[in-house]
């Protein structure tokens, strides 16, 4: 990775003669590979990923244990006529609710976030900077504080919004709108103003500029943020936990939490978690390849696409 040539330890004759024998000891290669660091990194990766692999494995356990392997089966997914994800109405409802929240939130939050991005990019003065401030703030504000705020908004102020799917969706939109706002804004900065100016100079109206110049240019960023919003809704816990009202609007994360906490754990929960995991990975893969396809012809590489899809 680093260029060597110039930096190899120079065999300077004067020091060699002056230090005599001590110089004959082999000097360590300054550009040697840091095996210790690499080993540490692999240990970290094993620690971070192997437990999840085991949890996925136990979702196929042919028994009620989450910790002792009793053979492979599909019973917790669909084979068991009572307790499988396919047949247990509560488990089934949790999957449906998560997907529903993901779709609703993405469909509303992404256009809204794109509008914010355009606004932050174009407005001058305090509105733009305040908006920007709020968007970045939402990455560090504890989700619990935000969830408590939303809980009170829907139970004390806008009481016509009952706790449940509507409240959850509104909370999730507000929480996730920063993804498209930040990512699309970054893209706007990268593409600059010249395309838009050219369109305006050539006589395009505002809406034409928007539809035929800006939206196609922004498409990769919009798509990447949609992927991020959808997957973070799937994984969200705090907001949906504070704003759910009954079994009918309990998403997967809340179901896993309440069952495991209540001592009703079992491989069915692992199956639910595995379904979440597969959903997220499929979305990530689709997002990655679609992003690569959309930005073909631009000077971008795989790592850039990967970072965008992960939101870093």
């Amino acid at each position: 990775m680093t260029t060597t040539g110039t930096a190899a330890p120079a065999e300077r004759p004067d020091t060699e003669t002056r230090n005599g024998l001590s110089r004959l000891r082999p000097q360590p290669n300054p550009w040697r590979h840091p095996w210790l660091l690499e080993g540490f990194t692999w240990l970290y990766l094993i620690w971070s990923l192997v437990p999840i692999g085991l949890a996925v494995l136990f979702s196929f356990n042919n028994g009620r244990s989450q910790s002792v392997w009793q053979g492979f089966s599909w019973r917790w997914y669909f084979a068991d006529p009572l307790n499988s994800v396919l047949h247990d109405p509560a488990l089934h409802a949790a999957v449906v609710q998560t997907v529903r929240l993901g779709v609703y939130t993405t469909v509303i939050a992404v256009p809204l976030g794109v509008a914010f991005a355009l606004g932050i990019n174009r407005w001058r003065g305090y509105t733009a900077s305040t908006f920007n401030f709020v968007m970045i703030l939402s990455f560090v504000i504890p989700e619990l504080i935000f969830g408590v705020a939303m809980f009170f908004v829907f139970t004390a102020l806008f009481t016509f919004v009952h706790l449940g799917t509507l409240a959850q969706t509104l909370g999730l939109i507000t929480w996730n709108v920063s993804w498209p706002a930040i990512i699309v804004q970054a893209r706007l900065v990268t593409i600059g103003k010249q395309y838009e100016e050219a369109a305006a100079d050539l006589g395009a109206t505002q809406l034409q500029t928007m539809r035929r110049v800006m939206l196609p240019l922004l498409a990769p960023a919009i798509f990447a943020s949609a992927v991020l919003v959808f997957s973070s809704v799937i994984d969200d816990f705090v907001i949906v936990d504070l704003l759910y009202s009954n079994a009918g609007n309990t998403p997967m994360s809340v179901y896993i939490y309440s069952q495991q906490r209540g001592g009703n754990g079992g491989p069915a929960l692992n199956a639910l978690g595995t379904i979440m995991l597969v959903m997220s990975f499929v979305i990530a893969l689709v997002g990655y390849f679609a992003y690569r396809w959309m930005t073909r012809g631009e000077r971008s590489d795989r790592k850039e696409a990967l970072s965008t899809i992960a939101g870093i």
Partner: protein, 310 residues
């Protein structure tokens, strides 16, 4: 740029933004209010409101002139007064979060440093593996450790097999170490990505210059790389520590006993207890106030680094 071009540009871009937001200047303020001001004013109105004596639901008081201190005095009584039980919980929360954040940094920095500097052509692979936990639900990741740490789980079986312990350890029975490790495991992916992004941005020429000028590997790191990564360390620590302070689910899942209760649990419990919701609002508000300075620091630092990158 001609004057005409400038005017056109301004018209086109402002028009586009407004066409999407669907309205003149007022609309943007409305969104800002709905997004940000109203939710947090709602916490304040509940915290400074009173509690319905019969049914125990909180009554929001929107007019500042009619605010009462009842919920605040109740909260103060619980923190330091006659019924003080929150005081020790606050101390515990701070200790847990401090230890967990420090462990996160000690683990994340070397890994991020290796991937950013030395992974070479395998960088894509390492990056995928570092990002993977980011895409896996928090609940699934906690479930993974619940499976491993059970009394009959693989960890206990490995430890008894190696004769490191004679009896299986009840890891999930309220051990602070389990909760802290759960927090580390839960939040480290965010830190590692921030650190990676920051370290990857360091110009390798600076590090090579340090080496060319005769510094050893360790001293190059201490004198060049470490000072250049101060910013990502600060923002990365904030992005893990601040959410940890509002965490209530990790210790519920990995311990569930009162011995490891954190501030987030107090707020969560009060929110679901009739009559105590006002007090829960007070604690949420106090947590928010305590975090204002670090949060503002984070936003300013992020803004600065994105300006530098642009």
């Amino acid at each position: 740029m001609s004057a005409r071009g400038g005017a056109l540009r301004r018209r086109a871009s402002e028009g586009a933004a407004q066409a999407v937001l669907g309205g003149p200047g007022g609309a943007r303020h409305l969104w800002l209010a709905l997004l940000f001001i109203v939710p947090f004013y709602a916490i304040l109105a509940i915290a400074a409101g009173h509690v319905n004596q019969v049914f125990g639901y909180p009554v929001a008081v929107w007019n500042p002139l009619q605010w009462s201190a009842a919920n605040f005095t109740a909260a103060w009584r619980d923190v330091a007064g006659s019924t003080a039980f929150v005081g020790p919980i606050i101390v515990r929360t701070i200790v847990y979060v401090a230890v967990a954040s420090l462990l996160c940094l000690l683990i994340a920095y070397p890994a991020a440093y290796f991937v950013a500097r030395f992974s070479g052509r395998r960088k894509g692979l390492f990056l995928v593996l570092l990002i993977a936990p980011f895409w896996i639900s928090y609940m699934m990741r906690m479930l993974a450790w619940i499976d491993l740490l059970q009394t009959g789980g693989y960890l206990n079986r490995a430890l008894t097999f190696l004769h490191l312990v004679s009896q299986p350890v009840n890891w999930l029975g309220g051990l602070p170490a389990t909760v802290v490790l759960g927090l580390v495991y839960g939040y480290i992916p965010y830190l590692i990505l921030v650190l990676y992004a920051g370290l990857d941005r360091i110009d390798p020429a600076l590090i090579e210059a340090g080496r060319d000028l005769g510094l050893g590997r360790v001293r190059t790191f201490v004198r060049v790389t470490l000072p250049l990564s101060r910013q990502p360390i600060m923002t990365g620590m904030l992005i893990t520590a601040l959410p940890m302070l509002g965490d209530y689910f990790t210790n519920q899942l990995l311990s569930g006993t009162t011995g490891t209760t954190m501030l987030g649990n107090v707020i969560d419990d009060q929110l679901s207890t009739p009559g105590l919701q006002g007090e829960g609002a007070v604690f949420a508000l106090l947590l928010l106030l305590a975090l204002v300075v670090p949060m503002v620091y984070y936003v300013l630092a992020t803004n600065r680094s994105s300006r530098e990158a642009a």
